[in-house]
Amino acid sequence: MSFTVLILITFVMLLVQTTLIPFDWALVLVLSEALLAKDKEIAWLAFVTGLLLDLFLGKPWGLSSAALLIIAFLVFSVRRYLLTRKLIVVYMIAFFGEFFFNYLLFRSFNLLRAGFFAMVFSLVYFFFSAKEIKDNQELKLKI
């Protein structure tokens, strides 16, 4: 998927997030990219998503970008340990991602929200990355 299309999707997701369904769709996108995509793309996506999120939330410009970049980098740097793709690992990453993101942006600790977010994220993540997981397993078998 080209970067422009990704940004357009992000824009629509943010509009949905701030008006229709108050769920962290932006973080879903950034975490998924951090787990699956190329390094340069992740950084730029986190940066642009953050700037857009600040516009939608009316927050100081750059605040969400900084928060998303920290989370994306942390996830990116540990993703090599996630080759097993266990549900609990993905769940924990999403849980702490949402937890810290909320704290950095709203200074709010909300475990229930983070738990719910992690559950939805894990399901979405496994649904969309099913093909890649299968390919990886086949590749391993071949090797």
Partner: protein
């Protein structure tokens, strides 16, 4: 992915992180402010359109489900409940204060409070409203609707502001508890938002007799540690619906709910406290 790959990946992250910090700092400058306000307008328009469409759709669905008459009846009853709670709260406050002073003022809320009307244009963890610094809104100002406390301004932009709700888990408000229609304060405590939905009332002495149906008001005293501006006094926050004696020796706990449907608010008022010249 090796350590070398990670080291290589650090560069774009670091550059963009520094850029974010620079942008954050540069929002003080006029040029960046102008660019921001130019971008804010189309976003504001989009959000307002989608959010009001959602509210209209929500109303239509409720009407479809329960029928036009029942819907109107429900709305009317909800409004009556709110008005009753506000009136009985005011009555308690009025009885306590000088009646002559009240007659002179002829208003339930202090005259030093100016109200800035605002429309709700978005809802995520906080409410987004369509007024900002240009309309005189500043961070820390209290937001009300139907004379009931909604929350406090968290950040104020030029044309929009975000409101942290009373149900947010980071909110702590010193409160007093009154029984509807009775004068005097029944108890004191601290209200905490609970998972964006309910209100948890703590630090109420066991010796104090609070019951279901009692009303919770902001006390206006004690600056809470996480806020720069006090919560204004005598604003209705909610109604107690459960009291737990608990195992603690000194304090008991209670649960309350906001009398407003915070998810579907349309209009709110930002309270600006002005100095009255004598």
């Amino acid at each position: 992915m090796s350590n070398k790959d990670i080291r290589k990946a650090v560069k774009p992250f670091l550059i963009l992180f520094l850029l974010s910090l620079i942008i954050m700092y540069s929002t003080k400058f006029a040029l960046v402010k102008k660019a921001r306000s130019l971008l804010d307008r189309p976003i504001l328009f989009l959000q307002r359109s989608v959010f009001s469409a959602r509210q209209k759709l929500g109303d239509s669905l409720v009407i479809l489900r329960s029928g036009q008459e029942k819907y109107q009846e429900k709305t009317l009853l909800e409004e009556k409940t709110r008005n009753l709670a506000v009136t009985s709260g005011q009555l308690s406050v009025c009885r306590e204060e000088s009646a002559a002073m009240r007659r002179l003022l002829a208003a339930p809320l202090p005259p030093a409070w100016n109200f800035i009307p605002a429309k709700v244009i978005g809802r995520y963890q906080q409410l987004k409203i369509n007024v900002g610094k240009k309309a005189g809104v500043e961070s820390g100002m209290v937001v009300i609707a139907d004379e009931i406390l909604v929350g406090k301004i968290d950040t104020a932009g030029d044309y929009t502001s975000s409101v942290i709700l009373v149900t947010d888990s980071s909110v702590k408000i010193p409160v007093v508890i009154r029984t509807p229609g009775n004068p005097g304060i029944k108890a004191r405590g601290l209200i905490n938002g609970y998972f964006d939905e309910r209100l948890s009332l703590s630090e109420v002495l066991k010796s104090e007799d609070i019951k279901e149906g009692d009303l919770v008001f902001s006390s206006g005293e004690d600056k809470s540690p996480d806020s720069e501006i006090d919560w204004l006094p005598d604003l209705l926050i909610g109604k107690i619906d459960k009291v737990e004696e608990g195992k603690e020796k000194v304090f008991k706990k209670a649960w309350a709910y906001s009398l407003l449907d915070l998810q579907n608010l349309r209009y709110v008022f930002v309270v600006k406290v002005v100095q009255i010249k004598k």
